[in-house]
Assembly symmetry: C2
Homo-oligomer: 363 residues x 2
């Protein structure tokens, strides 16, 4: 199969601004290459693919980034800036895709989804967020009524944010397991991983660390400086140890030494990459029964699920974290979220999109 | 030729909100039908075509109207509202155009122009305004570099607002002459026609009428109520006689009795339909040396051109308006701006767009 991928227009690959999408894209590209498919990636200037996906053809586009829908009002209109990066990426993808089988879009935005209705190439969309915008949800509803197979979701709970999707295609997510080393460190420190921004709820994890008088290791880019400062001031000095945004190789080394990952999203997280990354290193996770993580963590086996936003419960489960066998964590990832498993699900899905497209258009 | 027209997304045809575009579209449709072409018009719900263009197939689309670029900041981003009328019209046009030769776009907006780059159908654009938006001008520049034949302008002076257009295609405009009756009324009242909005400069015409102690007949929709009220209060009571928005049939009857049309735009008017409508009835025009009207009026022959915004000059030329032979006015329209002449120019232009498209795509 020849596949053209459209990356996120929020930041270049490697910047960390695209969050989980960057990891998902890299994991899928390396999986597709390993299975012998041809991959073209259309991405913002300065993007870098990880080592295992470097054999893909990368096409750079320059322009003004889109504002993330996570940080806009739910009822905002679509905004396309002058010299739009997103529209440039779509133009490029369509031009290349004339010789390809399908376009696979990773951008959660209006323009690429709308194009499904208007071009002679099938476009499939990995929806990477819950419903974050009225105009996008209404557009997905409209396009879905004509192209019901062209949308895939990471988790059932994410798909349920779009109530008009009747039988959602769930692809989970995938991780290159060689990149994560199992570590059996029952006495390690506490960890937290994510973009530092309000929807990620860092304050709840810091509360727990502060309550037991430990420090919290925080990995990830500080997207919202004033939010980070506010949280730092809320707790005893030194509660938070800022460790910055690290490449996977370094991140997993440090993360693997933790005795637990605290995961505290305030929103309906589509999947929860960092939860799986922790599991892959053998780190159990204490998280809320909300969004993707609640579908990943097996309560009492690979970590614990608490009532959303209940910090005292987080704390009490953290106290019995040593009851979790760290080998279970690694095993769950091997059985459910390897790059190979994820890639197979995506390939099967894309094949149905292509076949339906050919059938409809009598090709 | 089979042509699909995309109407303006500012208001339905017949509402008057689309200004000159409504008349241009109707005139072209009737001209195309008369020459034996097939025409599909994609237009907002409630749109009505004039009698002579009723044989076209009309396709209605519902949705949220676009904000006019005339009334937005020059550096605004593109905005696409939820349930967008414009995107719905484009979808419909593309779907129909699969069996047509070309799409002809009348909408001055980002989305249809951008689509030139992305679909397998030629799209030609009649640009109906001067440069009103940075993002649209930059997009036209970008698309023009790849599709230099796909843009046409009403006047040279309008095209010069886009300095990157090297050899602009100028199509003028066209009017169904049967719809306008020549009247030789040298002693009639003063007239002004247009949307009542700041860029149309009604206050300058009212100043002239007030100075000679006459009333000014004003035809057109009041788009900006507070502006209309402000002007009314500026001058002696009864200076402005509001006559509302009339269909062509009634408008030309009343307009034809005027001894002069005062035309006072504050902006670079692309063409100046009302100037030609007045001429077609035999009414000479006093207007500014600015925008399209300055290319239409022959100074001393069909009216007078004054320095822009110079109200005293308007007044002095109005005093010698009886020196103009009203027959010259009608004749200029017959020789330069009939529906038939306009349609021929458009058909020739569209043929070059189609041929170039076929050549580039080896069809």
């Amino acid at each position: 199969m020849n596949i053209v991928l459209i990356s996120t227009p929020i930041g270049f690959l490697g910047s960390g601004k695209g969050g989980g999408v960057e990891l998902t894209l890299n994991s899928l590209v390396s999986g597709l290459l390993a299975k012998g498919h041809t991959v073209d990636v259309v991405a913002p200037k300065n993007s870098k693919l990880l080592e295992t996906s470097k054999k893909a053809n990368i096409h750079f586009v320059e322009g003004e980034e889109q504002k993330s829908w996570q940080h806009r009002d739910y009822y905002s209109a679509v905004c396309i800036p002058d010299n739009s990066l997103l529209s440039g990426m779509i133009e490029k993808a369509i031009a290349i895709a004339k010789k390809s089988d399908i376009i696979l879009n990773f951008s959660y935005d209006w323009l690429p989804i709308w194009m499904t209705l208007n071009i002679n190439i099938p476009i499939a969309h990995i929806i990477s967020m819950g419903s974050e915008s009225s105009v996008i949800s209404n557009l997905i509803s409209n396009v879905y009524s004509k192209y019901p197979r062209n949308f895939a979701f990471h988790s059932k709970i994410q798909a349920s944010d779009y109530p008009f999707i009747k039988n959602p295609i769930i692809i989970g997510n995938g991780f290159k397991l060689d990149n994560y080393i199992f570590q059996d460190c029952k006495d390690g420190p506490l960890g937290w991983v994510g973009r530092v921004a309000p929807e990620k709820g860092l304050e709840d994890a810091a509360y727990v660390a502060n309550a037991i008088g430990e420090k919290l290791n925080v990995w990830g880019i500080v997207q919202d400086e004033s939010y980070a400062k506010k949280i730092e001031e809320l707790f005893s000095q030194g509660t938070i140890e800022w460790r910055g945004f690290l490449e996977t190789e370094q991140l997993q080394k440090e993360l693997g030494t933790c005795r637990a990952l605290l995961n505290t999203p305030k929103w309906n997280e589509a999947y929860g990459n960092v939860v799986v990354e922790a599991l892959a290193c053998g780190v159990p996770v204490v998280t809320y029964k909300r969004g993707g993580p609640s579908e990943i963590i097996q309560h009492g086996k690979t970590g614990y699920l608490t009532k959303p936003d209940d910090k005292e419960s987080l704390l009490s489960y953290l106290n019995i974290i040593d009851k979790i066998d760290r080998k279970n964590c690694r095993k769950w990832v091997e059985d459910n979220a390897s790059s190979n498993i994820f890639t197979s699900k995506v390939v099967n899905w894309l094949n149905t999109v292509i076949k339906e497209y050919q059938f409809k258009n009598h090709i």
